[in-house]
Amino acid sequence: MAVATRPPRGRPQRRWGPAFRRNLTAYGFLSGALICFAFFSWYPMLRGFVLSLQHNNFVDPPEWVGLDNYRTVLADPVFQTAWVNTLVYTLLALLCGYVVPFVVALVLNELRHARGYLRFVVYLPVMLPPAVAVLLFKWFYDPGPGLFNQVLGLVGLPGLSWLDSSSTALISLVLVSTWMNLGTGTLIYLAALQSVPGELYEAAELDGAGFFRRIWHVTVPQTRLILLVMLLLQVIATMQVFIEPYLLTGGGPEDATMSVVYLMYQYAFVYDDFGAGSALGVMLMLVLMVFSAAYLRFSRDDPQERS
């Protein structure tokens, strides 16, 4: 108010008097968030790199060891298994968790009845705490009285050993995470489908395009961006899989469900080797950064494109 002469519209710079005071106020407002970001985001990012290059028992001063930690991790026979499992898991999760919600959204979008109910039901599992959903499925997977083997029995199929066999354990994990995350994707796709202009379908139909061609040539291109963004998001999310192996299988049987993050957790909190754990974290970060960068780039274009 000291320099309260109203600035011309084009120059909003001098609103609260001298620039210095304005900046001081602004950084006052920013300080809380800045401190939190600095401590819990920016600093840990840097520290992750530093840790991965050190031997550190947090008692003696840390010792620089170059790429030793990376060598340790790479030499671990479980390392390769963990990456392969994570990649297979991601691929399977994409197959289930990416394609299925889109198909579900397509179908729901056609239905004129019970929409509210269907949306509600699809999204309900998303609201369960993930730990609850996972523990619930652990009980369903039980080879004895478990629900899934009961259902298989009903239709005359032999029961599976689900989590106890290395051939079915991984897919069992994918089933849980698909079940509990399906709703998110479905609702986002539904929102995207609503914004596809109906004229395009009409035009396509007049040109003689059948049902599937209309989906392929109208729906998919029109929702291309959101499909891409969801694909990236899905990859990023599933490559961090931890809670499912942690609660369901402990990485077993025979490391069949060992994931990269679970291995990282083990290095740090079971073997007490934060250096090796961080090295693994850095590797995962480098892989995921590629996807994250693409995700950020496309998701920022997205709102303008849609509205």
Binding site: N23, F40, F140, F211
Partner: protein, 319 residues
């Protein structure tokens, strides 16, 4: 029949109905989708439509609702009935014994209270710090504001689990001040604030508030804080609602972080608490505990369905 193919304007179309059982319920076209209303109104179109509808209703109910039903009723069975083969679909004697046991043996009340404390504390800090930050970035526009914003958004590129270990070590021994935040609510509250997506959502909303409104207040001599309180916040209620719901449900659902930073059984969140007791509890008690743990989030969902859906699509995707 051929007339219906043209797209009627927004008003409810004056349809000439097909002579079926329910002539009033003809498929109009609120929004043209892949299948044309014209096709839907043919005899086969209707048959297929209803077949698909019934199929979807039954499948979805079975796949998404039945497990929850199984969980809720499973906890009402006795332990023998629970393990019986073939299973019963209705408990023969309904008993709330397992729920009582879960509550008492597992100390769920304590876990729930902890989780409430973490979730709402985190919400308070997030609203206080992130709203102020987004306001500063959007309306006060300090030097290097864009750099700060970019640095905050850049954290979105780093998935949370890959900085899990260094973040854990930071919380264990906070640099500069040498504080150990393990087993304190601060270990949940403060990291929640550092959420680039929240700042992004808020800033984008604040950007949309007309500058004239702010300028008018400045002319009247309002301080930046006063403008935030009396102008920006009142018009931002929708986005504050979305951010609140996202924050609370995220903290409530989180597992890995509280697992690491709150190892003391007295301090655990409900998810971690239940998981830590999973080996020593009878299956019925465990199931009852799962039900109790999901009640709060389900209630939030029922109460704020619309906002949650809005949050899902706001600014693209959830973080």
């Amino acid at each position: 029949m051929s007339l219906t193919a043209t797209r009627p304007p927004a008003a409810p179309p004056a349809r000439k109905g097909a002579p079926r059982r329910r002539p009033r319920k003809v498929f109009g076209s609120e929004h043209r989708t892949v299948v044309s209303p014209h096709h839907l109104n043919t005899v086969w179109g209707r048959r297929i439509y209803w077949a698909v509808l019934v199929f979807v209703l039954v499948t979805f109910t079975l796949v998404f609702l039945f497990p929850l039903y199984w969980m809720v009723t499973g906890a009402m069975k006795t332990q023998e009935e629970f393990l019986r083969l073939p299973p019963t679909y209705f408990p023969s004697d309904w008993t709330l014994e397992s729920y009582r046991q879960a509550w008492e043996l597992m100390g769920l009340g304590k876990f729930l209270l902890n989780t409430f404390q973490y979730a709402f504390g985190a919400l308070a800090f997030t609203l206080a710090f992130d709203v102020a930050a987004a306001y500063a970035l959007s309306k006060l526009r300090p030097v290097f504001g864009n750099v700060v914003l970019l640095a905050m958004l850049a954290t979105l590129m780093i998935p949370p689990t890959v900085i899990l270990l260094p973040a854990y070590l930071t919380v264990k021994d906070l640099p500069l001040v040498q504080l150990d935040l393990l087993n304190t609510p601060w270990a949940i509250w403060l990291p929640t604030v550092a959420n680039g997506f929240t700042v992004f959502l808020l800033k984008r909303f604040f950007d949309g508030i007309p500058r004239e409104l702010i300028e008018a207040a400045q002319i009247d001599g309002a301080s930046p804080f006063r403008i935030l309180r009396s102008i920006v916040l009142p018009v931002s209620r929708p986005i504050l609602g979305v951010v609140s719901i996202l924050t609370v449900t995220n903290v409530w659902r989180d597992f890995v972080w509280p697992l690491l930073v709150l190892p003391d059984p007295e301090r655990m969140t409900i998810s971690v608490g239940i998981a830590s007791l999973r080996f020593n509890m009878p299956q019925t008690t465990m199931t009852a505990a799962l039900v109790i743990a999901s009640i709060p989030t389900i209630v939030v969902f029922l109460a704020f369905q619309r906002h949650i859906m809005a949050g899902l699509t706001a600014g693209g995707l959830k973080g």
